[in-house]
């Protein structure tokens, strides 16, 4: 049988990075094919080449045995290739129907005006097929993240694609919604579509996929049948090298002094009566799905967003925090999930970034920079954290994600922050750098700092924290010591919704 998609010898480079090196991939009609690999292994890049988002440098792509060229997303659509991107790509100001039919709006008889009614009717028909109760006229910006994800899926399905690529489609879905998605996938499969499924959730892959292709560092490793291959084998192929393993979850440090205490924190619909404490030398993990309100809590405590009510105590003392400046004064640091946007001035050099939050300490006469002192301080932290850079005057943009993250950490260490919020500290950095960040966080906790880690990767939360707090829809739905906690337990708490009833209609 001719494979539906066949990719051979594919290579793709970005400035400074070889993202894909001589890759292979094959997809059969009527198969669900899992694409596996750590962050940065090149899965998304490979699929974006197939979907016309990126252009290949070398190699060939065949659809039904025919050599094809896919210069843009439209060409991919014409070949019957649909993709659901990892990041939601929707227009918040536009309605659900307008989002689904963007680029191929049905026209009325005159050929000039958009036939809005037909568009809404067709949207409704797609939703019926998906058993989804959603008004096509709703603005996408008014939907929950889970339902926005459903709109993305509906959009991809509306193309009648023969090849459907799903890049982590379940990241924001609860169990019932995942079941629905799987039902749809099976339905598509029985109609002869080929589905590429990218996910980090191992149990899902076992349940839904027929074969799995493993990638590592931009290279093809192997393709195996999922049913007869153990998860351990796949994981070892994915990782392929020794990693730092902490001694597993650590015992909670109950006797230590409470450094940060947050009581009855409220902010609109995003934070609902959140309470928690962090102790000296402790790592508190925040688990939950995308949009559960974890980042919002961190930003609120840090003073980046206004709260409706609530109190924050540092070492038992009530502190008014109205701005990040107030928070920093009290020794609270926040490392944002989006380093490039909020954490770093990527156009500036390493030393400037490291002292950015403490500039006042490096001034003479309150105005002139003391360059030598800055350089020396930066050099000390570069060494202490093992930041790989040719010099402290290197532009931050030229460093890898892991090293950028360490520079953000250095910035807050210079400030002597006692309480540090880490928001997705390992997102988008490779496996080796990840284990170094873990090591660093443990070292910081041992030095007596109080640390909060927000992470969407459950194994990471379990491995890194002493204690775990689970959030869902702005509420804290559970708290437990990491020792003895299981992924299933956390998942259940993370999907304990108030609004379950109207999430999906069966």
């Amino acid at each position: 049988m001719t494979p539906l998609v066949s990719i051979q010898n594919l290579s793709k480079s970005f400035p400074g990075v070889r993202a894909l090196n001589d890759c292979r991939f094959e997809l059969l009609a009527g198969e669900v094919h899992a694409l596996m690999g750590e962050n940065g292994a090149g899965k998304s890049t490979l699929m974006k080449v197939l979907a016309g988002v990126y252009q290949k440098d070398e190699g060939e792509i065949r659809i039904d045995g025919q050599l094809v060229d896919i210069p843009n997303p439209r060409a991919a659509q014409a070949l019957g290739i649909g993709i659901i991107h990892q990041e939601l790509n929707l227009m918040n100001h536009r309605s659900v129907a307008q989002n689904i039919f963007i680029g191929r709006e049905p026209r009325g008889r005159s050929g000039v005006f958009i036939d809005t009614q037909k568009m809404e009717r067709d949207t409704r028909a797609i939703f019926e097929r998906l058993h989804l109760d959603l008004d096509p006229r709703t603005l996408v910006g008014d939907l929950t993240v889970a339902r926005q994800q459903m709109v993305e899926i509906a959009k991809a399905l509306s193309f009648d694609s023969r090849v459907l690529i799903m890049d982590e489609p379940t990241a924001a879905l609860n169990n019932a919604e995942i079941e629905d998605l799987f039902r749809i996938i099976r339905q598509l499969k029985s109609h002869g579509a080929g589905i590429v499924y990218i996910s980090h959730k191992m149990d899902e892959l076992k349940r839904i996929s027929d074969r799995a292709t493993v990638m590592r560092d931009g290279q093809y490793i192997a393709t195996v049948p999922t049913a007869t291959t153990s998860m351990e084998t796949i994981i070892s192929m994915m990782v392929g090298r020794a990693l730092f393993e902490s001694e597993g979850p650590m015992a909670p440090a109950m006797d230590h002094e409470v450094v940060l205490e947050v009581r009855h924190l409220n902010r609109g619909r995003t934070i609902k009566d959140v309470n928690f404490v962090v102790r000296k030398g402790e790592i508190l993990g925040f688990a939950g799905l995308m949009g559960a309100g974890r980042t919002e809590v961190a930003r609120a405590v840090f003073g980046a967003d206004k709260v409706d009510s609530g109190e924050i105590r540092v070492r038992g003392e009530m502190v008014p925090i109205h701005s990040p400046a107030d928070a920093v004064k009290r020794g609270i640091g926040y490392l944002s999930e989006d380093r490039k946007h909020f954490g770093l001035a990527t156009g500036m050099d390493v030393e400037s970034n490291i002292v950015l939050a403490t500039m006042r300490r490096f001034l003479s006469l309150g105005f002139f920079l003391k360059r030598p002192v800055i350089r020396e301080t930066a050099a000390r932290f570069v060494k202490q954290l093992g930041i790989k850079t040719p010099s402290v005057s290197q532009k931050v943009a030229l460093l890898s994600g892991g090293n950028q993250q360490k520079i953000v950490i250095a910035k807050w260490l210079v400030r002597d922050c006692e309480i540090l919020f880490f928001d997705e500290p390992t997102r988008g950095i490779d496996v080796g750098a990840k284990s170094e960040i873990y090591k660093l966080l443990h070292a910081l906790a041992e030095q007596g700092r109080a640390i909060v880690v927000i992470s969407s990767e459950l194994p990471e939360v379990l491995r890194l924290s002493h204690r775990i707090l689970v959030m869902c829809e702005g509420r804290v739905t559970g708290e437990m010591p990491a020792l003895g906690a299981t992924q299933e337990q956390i998942m259940q708490l993370a999907t304990q919704r108030e609004s379950m009833a109207n999430a999906v209609v069966h």
Partner: protein
């Protein structure tokens, strides 16, 4: 949803509230000025206000398209003048027929918008810079082509009638509304149709809402951007005809500063400068607020300098009201 609920929902939607707020301000201003000065409400003065709004209103409509995409066009004012000068070249210098002059003004408007669009979409020059460059370039070209002197349309008797005659007055002698206002109205209705009912309008909003999403949906984003800037330019061409017709001449030194009035009208009308949302009706109301304000203050004998101060305050208040509304 019942018809009543739908009506209620649309009536209380944020964009409707903004329009009501703007409309309420307009009515409030008119009541204030008519009490402050008896001459404000007189027919002559009303016609004057309508006439004055026409040019800024049409320019503001052009700006609305561009601003909804999340862009900005600083060249609308000098482009208007350039189009007027080109009409003068075709009609007065070359003695070509009336309709050729009209077509030329609109064509050069669209062409200039096309150039801005190419600079922005293809060369990736930020809209602010690209259109700032175009603004100066067009201003210079207008002066060069006209030899810095006004071009009069004395050989084309039809020309003043574009703006000054009254087609409505011809049929309804009691309503001598000048054609300029009729043209503003027609441009507004057509623009509103394009914006809300056609693919072009749909992409205008979509680009301002999430350009990347549009690109990933397989839409040729560059092409549509160029089309939208070209359309904006063509509308500036119409504004050029209106102003030249009113003055019966193309004044090459005029134009700079009009872009800011246009942007102000758009913003007062509730269109977001970050793109993705906006209405033509709001823009028209914004344009009327600006001209009622100017006219009313002049009637009250407020000095020109203070009129400018008040206009500045109004713009800041309007945007702040919009921010307050969004926060809720």
């Amino acid at each position: 949803m019942s018809a009543y609920q739908r009506l209620k929902a649309s009536f209380f939607s944020p964009s409707t509230r903004q329009k009501l707020l703007a409309f309420g301000s307009l009515v409030g201003l008119m009541i204030f000025f008519s009490m402050a000065s008896p001459s404000f409400m007189q027919a002559d003065n009303m016609v004057g206000i309508l006439q004055a709004t026409a040019v800024n209103g049409v320019l503001a409509i052009a700006s609305t398209f561009v601003i909804i995409t999340g862009g900005i066009d600083l060249s609308v004012g000098t482009l208007m003048t350039f189009c007027a000068v080109m009409a003068g070249v075709f009609l007065t210098y070359w003695g070509l027929p009336f309709y050729v002059g009209v077509a030329a003004a609109i064509f050069f408007g669209a062409f200039s918008g096309f150039v801005s669009g190419v600079l922005i979409a293809k060369l990736k020059i930020p809209p602010f810079i690209a259109t700032l460059g175009m603004m100066l370039l067009l201003k210079g070209l207008s002066l060069v082509i006209s030899g810095t002197k006004p071009i009069y349309f004395n050989d084309t008797p039809e020309f003043p009638s574009i703006s000054q005659d009254s087609l409505i007055g011809y049929f309804l002698p009691d309503l001598p509304i000048p054609n300029a206002v009729l043209i503003l109205f027609v441009v507004a209705v057509l623009s509103s149709l394009v914006l809300n009912k056609t693919v072009l309008g749909s992409y205008t909003f979509a680009l301002g809402s999430n350009e990347e999403a549009v690109r990933l949906s397989g839409v040729n984003v560059d092409r549509w951007k160029i089309i939208i800037y070209s359309l904006g330019g063509a509308i500036c061409g119409i504004a050029g005809l209106l102003i030249a017709s009113r003055l019966n001449s193309a004044q090459p030194a005029l134009g700079q500063g009009y872009e800011l009035d246009a942007i102000a009208a758009v913003v007062i009308g509730g269109t977001s400068l970050s793109g993705g949302a906006g209405t033509i009706l709001g823009t028209i109301i914004g344009a009327f607020i600006m001209s009622v304000l100017t006219n009313g203050l002049r009637i009250m004998s407020v000095a020109q300098e203070w009129q400018t101060v008040v206009t500045g305050v109004i713009i800041i208040l309007a945007v702040y009201a919009d921010i307050l509304r969004k926060r809720k």
